[in-house]
Structures are given as structure tokens and as C-alpha cells.
């Protein structure tokens, strides 16, 4: 029955992307000096999973691509090849390529990108060229290409054609895999026994055999043992099998490759009979080669004797289930149960005292399946499986005769192809340039230099072409990425789910307890009720936390892309950079995680590109040549803090100001007023940040306004700390989740507002002697060593209020974007978690309000947006700030007003 495979596509994509990530990170771990075979295995496994998945869904291009990748990896794994940095680069490239292919598939496009073809071509060349010297060229070239991408983009068209050329050559080269001169001819013996219905899967044994013939001299013997009687002969099935002797120098892989598509539908044995070492591999594990040469589809009667040990039930096996399993592919004719009961007194109901003899009607080839059914009990039981012949075993003799005649009819179609065919190489004329390079290649001591040289020749072209092909593609990539990728599923650890189930269990218990209480309630039971409600509250909170935790993913999902990026960037910029990642297990809401990636990439790139100096500069400064870029993530309060720091040249506030003035972002007077931190903030100003203008200052600020906007959209805050010559640190603070907030309820006049608890520093009562009035009607409050501006919430929100003296009024000190502000309220109410509801959805954005929530009594309360309220509180805020700083700078002027 046909299953709609497309429903699983999404899963495939997700898994594949995951596998691609695994490959990438393992590749990053690979050290050419000291190759850890486990890393290679991991890469191999990941590639293999992708291949398997792709094959299942019929994504041929991906299967082909990963197959080649796998072949190459296999050689590294086996130690046939020495791994070099260039190889790693190349693999990394293939990872990109795979990602691209998957992405384009996901969008419903053809997965076959120019990039993939070029990379594939390169791989093929390496596979057959065999020499790592050639690989060096291939590996080194793309590195440069990354940076020169833009420059090369215009020549893209031309060189893509080159790529196609290279591809063509590879194709030819592939066909000519067999060198004409054979030294020590290996003789491969191949037994190819396709399943009967292989034709239904669209595979044609003839094509396979023809393909084999291209590898070398071939002898083919057709085995006709499986022919059924004529009346059962189904012309759509294959009853033939072949024994092939292939005289060829090829590697086993190449033979296996030919059988790649039929590997699941056939019994294939490839063994080396000639040559020195004899290896034997069985490629088809699914069908145990059986002695019985019967038509696998023919009906057969099996006699099964099954005598489980007494304790079989204790192992969790159930004989009944076994029979049900058998019924799925055949018919049980009769069950004879033998019961060997002991004395009633010594009977143990947990033991099995029965044994069974079954007559089972199934297909002749089903022995494997029957064995599979009993696989789990094989140690706990005595099992005998015997074929007692087909139901029609008493067929008349003339059936056999006709069967034999039919053989003659069928045979010619196949035997006509059993010709000795030598390698197809003679069809190919080596191009002239190949001959030229061949002469330089003498040390390769290849007997037949032509294919190798030819490989070399196109090899040199391939990487270039590849890079060029990659160039225009790369610029396209980010665009195509957006789209469907956003809505996706989430993988949750089973422990989290278990936890959740436990919580729900407890909740149900509490509920039933309260329910019971409700049915017969009297006043004596009030304490019980209160207790129940407390429990309910606790359950709810825990449940809520667990549900939230489901959405939490470690930030390593984002961080994991950086080692690769930093590596590539530092190579491109010829800087030595050490990326340190701390706290990559810090958990963060998935939505936040998805949206933080791009801003972080930006910051890291900036740090590498503009923050860290060149090696020469660093040495001149007396710093170690190795620059350090550090990513750090940790929880602080209800926030997640992500720091991107470098030990580079830092930001120069004066230069920033100067540039900002030049750029027209601020006026000269305004610039003079700016504090250092405010000067740093200039790089977040839109319009400040076009690349050329800034690059001669420090280079920072490319798209930093976008970064800031993104962070703010997540209710986050971004800050810069920097020291000239010592490096900069950019700190991002993000809320853990976007849906729920710990809130402090406050009352202002008749209205209730909610302050996010995370932004509250402290709450206190104003004292008149600590309040300084500044011209312009602003007040500053002296909070220990700091002056904080005072904002009246009622004033900011334009609520009628009595203008009473600030003395004795309640003030909530909040921190907003690194600055402290005191907000005067009338009363502090409860603290509670509130669910954030959008105000924007039905209305619009309101200044100073980040959202709304519904309180316990069903009324709506607004959530105060602290940075917004600060901005709202007046355009004179900056002036107040400066005044405050002025006061701080001159402590002697502190005379209390």
C-alpha cells in the first residue's frame, strides 16, 4: 500500500539539517595533526543517515552527493588517505553545499545546485585522482574565493560553464575508470541474485550488468535454478540470477556503487578471487542466503515447533503475540498445543507449561521472516522450523517440462548480453592539455598517466569554477533561507516530557481533592480548602514552568555555528583567532533563540573583522598574536545575558563622535555633550553605519542599528563597554521568555499597572532632603552615590493626579538600558506572574506600554515598558542625565537643595 511519504519530509529535513550540523561541528573538531577516528566516524554516520533518508524519499541528488562524500570519508577512515587541513576545508564546503541542497529541496526546488555539482565534481576527481597534492590546490583555492566572492561574481557565468565542463570531464573520467593496462588483474566474483519483483521497482538487471561490463572484462553466467513451473511463471518477475566474474582493477566500492540502487532488492555477494588479498563482503543483509532454492513467492507449508521454556513469560515475551506476528504474513493452519501441566499444588501461574506445533502456510522465501518473529525467544525456547513443501508440491511432470521450455524463451534476452567487454576507455581521447600536465606528474609513477593527468587538469579548474559558482550562490543564500523555515517543530528531551506528565498527575490529584471538598462542604473544612488552593497554586506554577521549559533550548544551537564562521573568517583575513565559548548550555526560549542568531553573527563578525587587529599590529602593540573572541552566555536574574567580547583595539569614543558629526548623525554641539557610553551608543544609530565611512574609524557599526532593533524587538537590551587598545564587550540581555512575565503590580490613582520585576532595582520612600530640583522641572533623587531622575508615572501617562509633595511618596527604582530611573507610584500591590497579551493586535503600539494582561478579577492591566516610559517622560531626559553627571563630577556642589 502506498504511503504518502511527503508527510515525513519535514522530519527528514530536520534530521538532515541536524546531521549536517553534526558533521560541521565534528569537522571543526578534526585536527589534521592528530586525527581522532571517532570524529571521522561521527561525520561518516551523519553523512550516512542523510544518505539513507534521502534515498528513502527519493532525493537522488542528495543521495549521490552524500554517497561520494561517504566514499571519500571511508578512505580517510580506513587510513587510505591522509587527512589535511585542505581536506577539512573541502568537507566543510560540502557541508555548506549539502545545507544548500536541503534548503532548496525544502522550498520545493531542485536540489541540484551548481554548487553541488562543482563540489561533487571535485570529490570525484579526488577519489580517482587519488593524490593529495592535487587536493591541496582544491582546498586552498576556495578559501580565497570566499573573500573574493564579490569580485568574482561577475565572472560567475563564464566559470560556471567551466564547472559544467569539469563535470563533463569527470563523467567521462568516471567511465574510464579502468586503466587499459592491468598489472595484477583482480578478479571479482559477483553473485547477483535479484529479488523476483525487482523489475517492479524500476531496476533493470541488464543495465546493471552492462554497467559492470564497462569496468573490465566480464564473464557472466546465468543461473536459472529459480524458475517456477510454467503456470506460475509471472512474466513481470525475474527468476534468474547471475554469477559474474569481472577482471578489473577497480575498487570494491565502485562495484558496490553499481549495485547501489538494488542493494535492498537483491542478494549481492562481491568477493575477490584473483589478486593477492581476498576480501569477502556480503552486501545484502536482509536475506539470509538459504539452501532452499525454491521460488520465494511460492506457497509453502512450514512446520514450526515451538516449545518455550517455563520462564518465557518472565522475559516479557508472549507466545500469543508471536502467533499474531506470524499471522501477518501467512496463515496458521493448525495449532496443536501440548499442555504439560504440573500438579496443581506446584503450579506457578507465571510459568508457561505449553508448547505448540504449528502448520503455517506462507511463502517459501519467508523463512527469514519466521526466524525474525521468533528472534526474541530464540534463547528461551526450543524452536524448529521446517519446510514441509509447497501446497502444490504434487504438480504433474509436464509442468516441469513446460517450465524448462520457458527457460529457453527467456534466456536469450539475457545471455545475449553476456559478452566479454573490455573497459570503455578507448572511446575517450585525452585532451591535449592533459598531456602537458602529465609530464609534470611523473613522480606519480602512474602506469597509465592519462586518466590521472586528465583528472589533475580538470582538478585545477574545478575548484576555481566551484568557487565562482559558489560566489553568486552565496549572496543568494540568505534570501532563500527565509520563508518556510520559520514554522518548525521542536525536539524535547524525554525527561522534560516526563516531568510534565508528573505535574499533570499531581494537578489531577489536587483537582479531585478540591472537587471532593466541593461536594460536601461545610465551614469546618475551610482550612482544608485553603490548603488545597495552595497546592493548586503550586501545581499551576510548576506546570507552567515545565511547559515553559519545553520551549527552552540550549544556546549552543546558536553558538555552534560560530567556530566554523570564525575559522573561515580568520583564514580569510589572515588573523589568528581563538574563539572561546562559555555557557553554551544556557537555555533560552526557542523563539528568542531563533531570532538572536543573526544579530550574534553580526557581532561576532564585527569582533573578528574589526575588533581583532592583524597579527602584525598585535605584535606591535605587545599583545599575543592570537586574538581572543569570547562568547559567554549565562543567566542573571530573569534574564539571559550573552556577551561577545574581543581583546582587539576597542572603540575610540572621540573618533566615533567625530565620524558621527561628519556623517550628520548628530550636531557638533550635541557630540560635545555626549558621555563616553553615549558615544559608543552612536554605533547603533541608523545612518551611522555604512561600511566605508566607518571602516577607517574602527569599522564597527555595520548594520548595528539593525542588531539593536532586533534585540529590542525581543525585549532585550544591548550595551557596549570598550577600552581603547584593550578590546570591547557587547552585552545583550534578553528575557527568558516572551510569553510570561514576573510582574510587580502598582497602583497609580485608580489604575493598576505592572512593572516587570526584572527591571526593578529597589523600591523606597522619597525623602525631601535627597531630592534635587533641576531647572526645567525635573527632579533628581540621590540614591547613595548616584543621581537618578524621578519620573511620575501619573504625569507620564497623563492621568489626573494631585500634585502632592514628593516627600514620603513611594518610588520604584528601575534600570533601563543601563540607566537607573525612579518612578513614583501611589502604592505597591502584589507580585505575580502575568501572561502578556498583545495590545497591538487589536489596537496599536502605545508609548510606554509593552503589553497588557488580565488580572485575577478579569480586568485589564497594562504592563509598563520601562525604556519607553523613560523616553516618554520627556525629551529633556538626556539633559537630566547630563545634569546628574555634572553633579557627580563635582561632588563639592552637593549642597542639599
Amino acid at each position: 500500500m502506498a504511503i504518502d511519504l511527503s508527510q515525513f519530509h519535514q522530519v527528514f529535513y530536520e534530521e538532515s539539517f541536524e546531521n549536517v550540523d553534526i558533521m560541521e561541528s565534528s569537522l571543526m573538531d578534526l585536527d589534521p595533526e592528530d586525527v581522532d577516528s571517532e570524529d571521522i566516524n561521527t561525520i561518516f554516520r551523519a553523512a550516512h543517515s542523510i544518505k539513507g533518508g534521502a534515498a528513502t524519499f527519493g532525493f537522488v541528488k542528495i543521495t549521490e552527493f552524500t554517497h561520494v562524500l561517504e566514499t571519500l570519508l571511508d578512505q580517510f577512515r580506513a587510513g587510505d588517505r591522509v587527512l589535511r587541513t585542505s581536506d577539512i576545508n573541502m568537507f566543510l564546503q560540502s557541508v555548506d553545499c549539502m545545507r544548500e541542497m536541503l534548503g532548496s529541496l525544502q522550498e520545493g526546488n531542485d536540489s541540484d545546485t551548481e554548487n553541488s555539482q562543482a563540489v561533487l565534481a571535485q570529490f570525484n576527481l579526488i577519489l580517482e585522482g587519488g593524490e593529495a597534492t592535487a587536493v591541496d590546490v582544491a582546498g586552498a583555492e576556495p578559501e580565497g574565493a570566499g573573500t573574493q566572492a564579490a569580485a568574482k561574481a561577475e565572472d560567475g557565468d563564464v566559470e560556471i560553464r567551466d564547472a559544467a565542463d569539469a563535470q563533463d570531464k569527470v563523467d567521462i573520467a568516471q567511465e574510464s575508470e579502468t586503466p587499459e593496462v592491468i598489472f595484477d588483474p583482480k578478479i571479482w566474483q559477483i553473485e547477483f541474485k535479484p529479488n523476483k519483483d525487482i523489475l517492479a521497482s524500476g531496476n533493470d538487471p541488464l543495465r546493471i550488468i552492462n554497467e559492470l561490463a564497462t569496468l573490465g572484462e566480464m564473464e557472466c553466467e546465468t543461473i536459472r535454478k529459480r524458475f517456477p513451473k510454467l503456470k506460475k511463471l509471472n512474466p513481470e518477475k525475474i527468476y534468474l540470477s547471475w554469477k559474474i566474474r569481472l577482471k578489473s582493477e577497480v575498487h570494491q566500492n565502485e562495484i558496490e556503487e553499481i549495485f547501489e540502487w538494488v542493494i535492498d532488492d537483491a542478494d549481492i555477494k562481491i568477493s575477490l578471487v584473483g589478486g593477492t588479498d581476498i576480501e569477502e563482503t556480503e552486501t545484502a543483509p536482509n536475506l539470509h542466503p538459504t539452501e532452499v532454492v525454491v521460488d520465494a513467492d511460492e506457497c509453502a507449508l512450514w512446520s514450526i515447533y515451538f516449545e518455550p521454556k517455563l520462564e518465557v513469560l518472565r522475559t516479557g515475551n508472549d507466545p500469543y503475540k508471536l502467533f499474531v506476528a506470524l499471522e501477518q504474513f501467512g496463515k496458521i493452519h493448525s495449532i496443536e498445543a501440548q499442555i504439560d501441566l504440573p500438579d496443581f499444588s506446584s503450579m506457578d501461574p507465571e510459568l508457561c507449561y505449553m508448547s505448540w506445533a504449528l502448520l503455517f502456510d506462507a511463502k517459501a522465501g519467508d523463512e527469514g521472516k519466521i526466524n525474525d518473529v521468533f528472534e526474541w525467544v530464540i534463547d528461551e525456547a526450543k524452536i524448529e522450523i521446517k519446510s514441509v513443501g509447497g501446497l502444490f508440491s504434487d504438480d504433474s511432470a509436464d509442468d516441469q517440462v513446460s517450465a524448462e521450455t520457458s527457460v529457453d524463451v527467456v534466456e536469450p534476452t539475457v545471455t545475449s548480453n553476456v559478452v566479454s567487454i573490455s573497459g570503455a576507455a578507448e572511446t575517450q581521447t585525452p585532451p591535449a592539455e592533459a598531456v602537458v600536465t602529465a609530464s609534470e606528474n611523473k613522480e606519480e609513477a602512474s602506469v597509465d598517466a592519462t586518466p590521472a593527468a586528465e583528472a589533475e587538469a580538470s582538478q585545477e579548474k574545478a575548484p576555481e569554477a566551484e568557487a565562482a559558482a559558489a560566489a553568486p550562490k552565496r549572496s543568494k543564500a540568505p534570501k532563500s533561507k527565509s520563508g518556510t523555515a520559520e514554522s518548525s517543530s521542536i525536539r524535547v528531551g524525554i525527561d522534560k516530557v516526563d516531568n510534565l506528565i508528573n505535574m499533570v498527575g499531581e494537578l489531577v490529584i489536587t483537582q479531585s481533592m478540591l472537587g471532593q471538598l466541593g461536594t460536601d462542604f461545610d465551614m469546618d473544612r475551610v482550612p482544608k480548602l485553603i490548603e488545597g488552593l495552595v497546592q493548586l497554586e503550586q501545581n499551576t506554577r510548576e506546570l507552567q514552568e515545565s511547559v515553559m521549559r519545553i520551549r527552552m533550548l540550549p544556546i549552543s544551537f546558536v553558538f555552534s555555528r560560530f567556530p566554523r564562521m570564525v575559522r573561515d573568517l580568520s583564514q580569510a583575513l589572515s588573523k589568528e583567532i581563538d574563539l572561546q565559548i562559555l555557557g553554551d548550555q544556557t537555555e533560552l526560549d526557542k523563539t528568542v533563540l531563533e531570532k538572536i542568531g543573526d544579530p550574534l553573527v553580526h557581532l561576532v563578525r564585527n569582533a573578528v573583522d574589526h575588533g581583532i587587529e592583524t597579527i602584525a599590529d598585535r605584535m606591535a602593540m605587545g599583545k599575543p598574536a592570537h586574538g581572543i573572541v569570547r562568547l559567554n552566555a549565562f543567566h542573571q536574574g530573569g534574564n539571559v545575558v550573552i556577551e561577545v567580547s574581543d581583546d582587539g583595539k576597542g572603540l575610540d569614543a572621540e573618533m566615533l563622535k567625530q565620524k558621527a558629526v561628519e556623517k550628520g548623525v548628530i550636531t557638533e554641539e550635541a557630540a560635545a555633550m555626549l558621555s563616553q557610553d553615549q558615544a559608543y551608543d552612536l554605533i547603533f544609530a541608523p545612518g551611522f553605519s555604512t561600511a566605508q565611512v566607518v571602516s577607517d574609524v574602527s569599522g564597527r557599526g555595520v548594520g548595528m542599528d539593525v542588531v539593536k532593533r532586533n534585540i529590542q524587538a525581543l525585549n532585550g537590551v544591548i550595551e557596549i563597554k570598550s577600552e581603547v587598545g584593550r578590546g570591547s564587550t557587547i552585552t545583550i540581555r534578553l528575557p527568558l521568555t516572551l510569553a510570561i512575565l514576573d510582574g510587580q503590580l502598582v497602583r497609580v490613582a485608580d489604575h493598576t499597572y505592572i512593572f516587570p520585576i526584572v527591571s526593578i532595582v529597589e523600591s523606597l520612600q522619597c525623602k525631601a532632603e535627597l531630592i534635587n530640583s533641576i531647572a526645567g522641572g525635573c527632579n533628581l533623587f540621590r540614591l547613595r552615590e548616584e543621581y537618578v531622575p524621578i519620573i511620575r508615572l501619573a504625569q507620564a501617562f497623563d492621568i489626573p493626579f494631585e500634585d502632592k509633595d514628593l516627600d514620603g511618596s513611594l518610588m520604584v527604582v528601575v534600570e533601563s538600558e543601563g540607566e537607573k530611573v525612579g518612578i513614583v507610584v501611589d502604592e505597591l500591590l502584589a507580585q505575580q506572574q502575568v501572561v502578556i497579551k498583545s495590545l497591538e493586535h487589536n489596537y496599536r503600539r502605545v508609548k510606554g506600554v509593552s503589553g497588557a494582561t488580565i488580572l485575577g478579577d478579569g480586568t485589564v492591566a497594562l504592563i509598563v515598558d520601562i525604556p519607553g516610559i523613560v523616553r516618554l517622560a520627556g525629551d529633556n531626559y538626556a539633559r537630566m542625565q547630563n545634569a546628574a553627571q555634572g553633579l557627580m563630577a563635582q561632588p563639592q556642589n552637593h549642597t542639599q537643595h
Binding site: 495590545l839 487589536n842 502605545v846 488580565i854 516618554l872
Partner: protein, 195 residues
């Protein structure tokens, strides 16, 4: 403020209203649209009944800081935050004291940002009329000072003028025009046009 339960009746959609409004012109809807009409300061206005989600009694709304005067605030409508607009103030009329019979009509408004739910406060709900295109006449030009896009058309019922509003337009324009004496203005301009 708590409202007495007797006034908290929430009519489901228009059906019950349609039944209540059997005294309207005609209930047959052969190509005709149905309009729910309501009264503000003695004038009758109509909105397309398909836009009406529900009608409920007035309840205290949470004011939105620094919002225009006609935005009374937001209410919790079964978990959704819904802004409430007072049409009286919209039309530049004196606000009146809200009583338990003050009615909020909850409307689905189509904006370029998708569908929004909004409530309008009116003095009272009046009737449901089925009106065909031919029963309507276009809004007259009341002078360049006023944009009359939000008027879908005018119709007369029992010699009384009903102004049919295009709420999609009315509730999305940024600055509310001064619509005080709207009907007078319309009558005047119509007389002018005739004379």
C-alpha cells in the same frame, strides 16, 4: 464598576437582533445587505451586520495612557484585549454618563494589518434593516474640509435619515474628523444640491 447582571445580556451575533428588529422595513434579503442601526444623540447610524461580533453591556474599561479622547480604553473580552471607542466623542459630541443600558457593539474591523476586534460605545441599539443597493444614496459632498469615505451611504427609513457607516474606514482613520452635526450638514448639503 460592576454591572447588574440583567444588563449584561450579550446577544449572540445578529440573529437575535434580527428577530427583535422584525419591525424593520423588510426582512427578506434578496440581494440586500442587513444593517444594524444604533442611536447616538438621537441620530440613527447603521453598520453592516456581518461586521458585528456581539453586543454587550458597558463595562469599565482600562484607560490607555496618552490615547486620544475617543478611545475609552481596553477591556478583556474572553482573554482578548479589545479597545473601546466612544462614537459620541468620535463625532465630536458631548460625552454622556454611561448607564447600565449603554451598549457596546463589538465589531470585526478589516484593516491592512488584518482583522481587528474593536468595540464601539453607542447610546442604544435600534433595529436591523435589510437594504438593497438601490435603497441607498451616496454621501453628499459636505465640502472639502471633510473626508466622507467612512460613510457608506444614506437611506431613509420612515422619513428619518439613517447614516450607514463604513466601519473599516471609520475606525482606522488616524485623526477623527469633527462630525458634530453631521446629519445637519448632510441635510443642508442635500438641500443645496436639490435647490
Amino acid at each position: 464598576m460592576q454591572i447588574k447582571s440583567s444588563n449584561e445580556q450579550t446577544y449572540d451575533q445578529s440573529r437575535s437582533m434580527a428577530g427583535a428588529g422584525a419591525g424593520g422595513i423588510s426582512m427578506e434579503s434578496d440581494g440586500a445587505d442587513q444593517f444594524l442601526t444604533f442611536i447616538i444623540a438621537g441620530e440613527e447610524y447603521g453598520v453592516d451586520i456581518l461586521c458585528v461580533q456581539e453586543i454587550r453591556g458597558w463595562e469599565q474599561a482600562t484607560p490607555i495612557p496618552n490615547a486620544p479622547k475617543h478611545i475609552k480604553g481596553v477591556i478583556n473580552l474572553r482573554g482578548t484585549i479589545v479597545p473601546i471607542i466612544e462614537l459620541r466623542q468620535c463625532f465630536g459630541m458631548e460625552s454622556i454618563e454611561y448607564t447600565p443600558i449603554t451598549v457596546v457593539i463589538v465589531l470585526k474591523v478589516n484593516t491592512d494589518k488584518g482583522e481587528r476586534i474593536m468595540g464601539i460605545v453607542v447610546d442604544a441599539v435600534s433595529d436591523v434593516y435589510a437594504l438593497a443597493e438601490k435603497d441607498m444614496r451616496p454621501a453628499p459632498d459636505i465640502g472639502a474640509s471633510m473626508n466622507t469615505d467612512f460613510i457608506k451611504g444614506l437611506t431613509n427609513v420612515d422619513e428619518k435619515m439613517v447614516i450607514l457607516l463604513n466601519i473599516d474606514k471609520l475606525l482606522t482613520i488616524d485623526d477623527m474628523p469633527d462630525l458634530s452635526n453631521l446629519s445637519k450638514q448632510i441635510e443642508q448639503s442635500e438641500k443645496l444640491a436639490e435647490g
